[in-house]
Symmetry: C2
Subunit: 220 residues, 2 copies
């Protein structure tokens, strides 16, 4: 695993052209965005056409992982084919003085590469435990134990983070110098993901206890 603090440089594919001053290529920035937002959009080519599938990702070291049906289209089509996995976090609507300068505060990552399948059942089980415990620490051991058949039905793919870029925008609008004299309100409307109170399943047994860590859950 590379030094997470080391600045990285872009490949031809990951060099940001538009608003390039928002670009970051270092592992620390990329890791932080992936860790904050499990929802990814995985793009792949199927019969010559692009498909974008929303999927949950999780990171371990310098790789990103996702899971799905072993016999599903997404998992079969993305195995050993080029993919682009994109994670984006919406942080706010930026209202400028000119419509042209409206913007979005955001953090986003694109990862390119050819996914590899995890095939060893013990390693698959370890990774799925990590996936579940990443949401609710310690939950895996409390659950009805996983079966061999369930592990078999589950495919796990992973990508190294060797070809990845991040883009981040924060702060107030940026208008042209002459437009700051224009008499219109400008500013930012902050947006974030909020977690509500846990809703117990009506079919819960009377004496089960809610995992305490659920109330600490945060996302984004």
């Amino acid at each position: 695993m590379p030094d997470a603090a080391a600045p990285a440089s872009p490949s031809a594919r990951t060099r940001v052209n538009r608003y390039r001053w928002l670009a970051h290529y270092d592992r620390q920035t990329i890791y932080a965005i992936l860790d904050a937002m499990p929802v990814a959009h995985v793009g792949y080519v199927h019969d010559g056409n692009p498909i974008v599938t929303p999927t949950l990702q999780w990171r371990e070291g310098d790789r990103v992982y996702w899971h799905g049906a072993a016999h599903g289209r997404m998992m079969k089509a993305t195995h050993d084919a080029e993919v682009c996995l994109t994670v984006s976090i919406l942080d706010g609507l930026v209202l400028a003085r000119a419509a042209y300068n409206f913007n979005i505060n955001h953090r986003s990552v694109m990862v390119f590469g050819r996914p590899e399948a995890v095939t060893d059942p013990a390693e698959k089980t370890r990774l799925l435990k990590r996936f579940v415990d990443g949401y609710v620490p310690g939950q895996w051991e409390r659950l009805r134990p996983v079966t061999d058949q369930e592990i078999k039905a589950t495919a796990i793919l992973s990508l190294p983070l060797t070809e990845a870029s991040a883009k981040l925008r924060a702060g107030p609008p940026e208008d042209g110098d002459e437009d700051y004299a224009f008499p219109v309100w400008a500013g930012v409307l902050p947006i974030r993901l909020a977690v509500g109170a846990p809703e117990p399943d009506p079919r819960n047994l009377p004496d089960v206890e809610m995992p305490a860590s659920l109330t600490a859950f945060s996302i984004g």
Copy 2:
């Protein structure tokens, strides 16, 4: 424009296979998801490889629109080439009794097709006004007026909603019958987008007034 209430049937490409009981193909369901969530992920093929770009979409009638740099890669590469535009909304983490039955409450849409460019400057201006006013009603007229050069630098693409599918999950976990006797807490952790208090630009003129509708802004 087709009757929004009419049930639609899937094409070969949009027929949902996995968890197919979550599928919807009617316009009303698809419109509601697109209208709730402007963030889309557009997938396209560039030099044979997939790219997924986060972009804002807006809907008018039976089409979805997005904008960007006239000379940018995304806008050039998606013009008259196959794309998949995906919108997804995260509604909750579903904690089941078995790890295998963990799930995500969500609403999502995939749209397939070949985008068309809007080229007429008057129509582009009308659509950009609709885009801005969709966030803050009436704001376009308050802003520093748009210039011809700005309209020229802006590309707008659109896709018809003729080949689209939606997938929705809501409600408590679904475990196997025998697992309801397993003594572990199950339930849903609801997640939603929250809008914070508007943050005025420190460079605002002293007497500008915040648009009243900003406090009514909601998303997701």
